[in-house]
Symmetry: C2
Subunit: 222 residues, 2 copies
């Protein structure tokens, strides 16, 4: 599958490397490739050297012809990323939205710039109604997103979205990463539930001293 991963940070790199390793054709999208390569934090140039099969391109070029666009950047930039990618002209494209609406304006821990009565996933779906937005993977650490087996036991990820076909595509991708417990929460408005997990996740990371954990929804076998 031809996939565009928007975002060059930890999440973008984890997704791009894993998807590429699974045989997909991956282009990482960024605003300005030259500016991205000029930075050393993150050192995307060095990372690309280790992943020669992944290419770097401006948002619009990366997403042209992509069957799947992965939003893997800062949530505050998600709107602009999709707009720069020409979101209005990508009708029908599946968007896997991993971003969280983090607001660092008051320092750490961040609060959320949208919550409870709306969500970033819904905002994006409303602004780009032709896209098929699926919220997922925003409740765990980047390395575990793509390699959940590292925990040694089953844990849960969630999908929220209005388009059944788009969700099926994302679920198949999650299963190819090793996820064995994907719960379909329903429409994109259920992203309110998963985006609000971040405040617990941040306190758990502090209490456990590691980001290497995930939630498992324990229920009786149905």
């Amino acid at each position: 599958m031809k996939i565009a991963v928007l975002g060059t940070g930890m999440v973008g790199q984890a997704l791009a490397a894993r998807l590429s390793g699974l045989g997909h054709t991956v282009t990482v999208g960024t605003r300005d490739p030259e500016a991205t390569l000029a930075r050393t934090e993150p050192d995307v140039g060095a990372w690309l050297g280790e992943h020669p099969e992944v290419t770097l391109a401006p948002y619009a070029e990366a997403t042209a012809g992509a069957e799947l666009v992965v939003l893997a950047g800062n949530g505050a930039a998600s709107h602009d990323m999709l707009a720069a990618a020409g979101g209005d002209h990508l009708d029908g494209t599946v968007v896997l939205d991993i971003s969280n609406p983090l607001d660092f304006s008051a320092g750490f821990p961040p609060s959320l710039f949208v919550k409870d009565t709306d969500s970033l996933g819904e905002q994006l779906q409303r602004r780009f109604p032709g896209l098929r937005v699926v919220k997922s993977l925003n409740t765990l650490n980047a390395s575990l997103m793509v390699e959940p087996a590292a925990l040694g036991t089953s844990s849960t990820v969630f999908v929220s979205g209005d388009d059944a076909g788009a969700k099926a595509l994302v679920v198949a991708l999650l299963e190819s990463f090793g996820h064995d417990d994907v719960i379909d929460l329903g429409g994109i408005e259920t992203a309110r539930g998963t985006e609000m997990v971040l405040p617990l996740w941040l306190r758990l990371m502090a209490a456990l001293g590691t980001p290497h954990f995930n939630l498992k929804v324990v229920r009786r076998a149905s």
Copy 2:
């Protein structure tokens, strides 16, 4: 231990019955016992008939001399419950706050009337600084709060509070219920994390078609 359970609904009944069954002396606190007994929903009179060892009393009487006060009512009423119980005169008492800041003013699913940059647990601790507030058990169904073994496998509950002794008392109580994975998140401000789980919990209940589930924090053995 002498325990006051404030709240006569599902959560209050589950806690009172379980605590009483474990040998504690339990009084259920309510605003006006006569009015409570006159209602049929919930039918507290019938429930008390099945639990003759539990007594019903006004808030102030129920909490007088209690070593532990359990806030098991509607979160919107928690402030008033503690005030009616004479919260300013209960200095040193441990308060197990199970309540969630649910706002049903726009119907179902409820939103939260405090979130993200504050929490109901913190509000209560600020308003009644002499109390030793511990937030816990607000992330799962009433029957599983007191009987987690019904899930057949380990799941997680959290404690948040500023007083180590109060948390130790609550953790011992949770263990007596059968909880085998209690994570201490830190100070009462970490209640922001657990109170914001409710939006996910509500969507999970809808998706799974049952409230009989809980979260397990899966991490590598430390």
